[in-house]
Symmetry: C2
Subunit: 269 residues, 2 copies
DNA sequence: CGGAGGCTTGACATATATCAACGGTAGTGG
DNA sequence: CCACTACCGTTGATATATGTCAAGCCTCCG
């Protein structure tokens, strides 16, 4: 593993700092550093692991972004999720014993891997690390659950609002702030992750623009009216309590241009 | 109240047997039995825990069935997932510290609860239990991922086929067999879990009937052409070693790798 | 026997996918 | 540095699937 250009790596695996600031002791951190393998940064499109390969390590994003996809029966890939700096992926392989999806870098990306057997041994000795791992996995389930709710219960605008807000929340600075977000993925990938075609995705972007919710040019997004966006995405229980914003459904949208902009049809019945 | 006929409760918490047949030693099993609280069976509609309540225990279904729902901003509930006998729920609360969805019994149901602090203590002493728990959680993520793929990438018939096959696979006998399945939930709930209205759900059922895929009367389903159903649901790609998975759409994935067996799952806790 | 809710079906509205074309942008190579 | 080429994003016209509204029947339960 050659070293390309370490951005700001105080720790061997930036991720570990995020996961366990002071929760884990110094000794645990040392052990983790030892078993963490830093991989050289790879260009966009690189496959990190492939569906079906034997499981041996879990991964974390250091810089860049990764998408996980499953190979549809047809051969098309269905985008499942995105992993941003500080987030783990490959966890589903724990159960299956092999990777059940394929991880692909969306841009120039550096990841680190943690040998799972080795990690388990360290965890055997450190209760705090165990707890951390369980919390981690629980959090992944939580995210998936939110996505499920967004997908199952809502129309295109709500879905897009959801994924945009989720990405902004999860993306670290400086790629994201309260007002802006730089998307690491194409419109096609973004939309497909929430079950939309590229065309629909683009059209909804246009809607958002016209309604003054965002200003988007290319992969640069500026949030102009977060409150209304959140109202559209509503239903999603944010994993972050601090982020929780009252359901102030400012939904008094101008019901005009064929647009149902505020709360869309709820699957309801 | 507890006049429920014990199906085969050799263990206080049937679930534990399923989770850990021989993997865990007898001593661990004893510890688990001690900390498991068996709850009396409750009628349909009973709320097991509510979104927002403080987290203290994870649950498992002994008999009956449970749905997890999130309260939409509007107040409507969005059905997230179903829990069948032997499956756990409430796991998402580990991360959040409080329950992030509400669990409701779909029919007369008996559950048991495991105090999470107590469980953690036992796990601290038994590596095998720890592994089992991680596998469990990984399996939950896996199930959610499958659901995500089904929801995001496919039309109504595929979604319904997916959920029907998933339920048949996960439902223990005698409620399910290779050919039959007794659904514990209404059409409305079934459909909503995969983002469909009751009307659409009903129509697709009709389609399936007309095409000779199933015979459904009320909540009783008989599978007449599992192969074609699997073909429709395809999206759930069984992990194949090579990337060239796509066989034919006829779902000849057959018995071996056709489905992921994740034993106990929770999507939403 | 009566009422309530669940299921089904029909007619209609509309959101979204599909097909198609075009313009912009960025990366590539001259 | 410029031109070229892909790809990405956008937009339009059209088809289709699914949600919505509405009504009726059946089943289960009281």
């Amino acid at each position: 593993m050659d070293n390309d250009n370490p951005p700001s790596e105080s720790s061997p695996c930036l991720v570990l700092d995020a996961v366990s600031p002071a929760v884990l002791g110094a000794s645990v951190m040392d052990r983790l550093r030892q078993l963490a393998t830093q991989h050289a940064s790879v260009p966009a499109g690189t496959t990190l692991y492939r569906q079906g390969e034997p499981f041996q390590a879990i991964y974390a994003v250091r810089v860049g972004a990764v998408k996980t996809v499953v190979n549809d029966a047809a051969g098309d890939g269905q985008v499942l999720s995105f992993r941003l700096p500080g987030e783990f992926f490959g966890l589903t392989a724990i159960h299956a014993g092999h990777y059940v999806n394929t991880a692909i870098a969306l841009e120039r990306t550096a990841v680190c891997s943690l040998s799972f057997p080795a990690l388990s041994r360290v965890a055997d000795e450190h209760p705090a690390l165990r707890r951390q791992l369980m919390r981690l996995m629980s959090g992944v389930i939580l995210n998936e659950q939110d996505a499920h709710a967004a997908l199952a219960g809502h129309a295109a605008p709500a879905r897009l609002a959801f994924i945009l807000l989720a990405l902004r929340r999860r993306m670290p600075e400086p790629e994201a702030s309260a007002e802006t977000l730089r998307l690491p993925m194409s419109r096609a990938d973004l939309g497909q992750s929430v079950g939309l075609t590229p065309e629909t995705t683009s059209r909804v972007f246009g809607q958002f623009r016209r309604h003054g919710l965002i200003h988007a040019s290319g992969r640069r997004v500026r949030f102009l009216d977060t409150v209304r966006l959140q109202a559209m995405a509503a239903s999603i229980s944010p994993a972050a309590p601090s982020r929780q914003v009252p359901q102030n459904v400012a939904g008094t949208t101008s019901a005009n241009d064929g647009g149902r902009c505020s709360q869309a049809a709820d699957g309801g019945g």
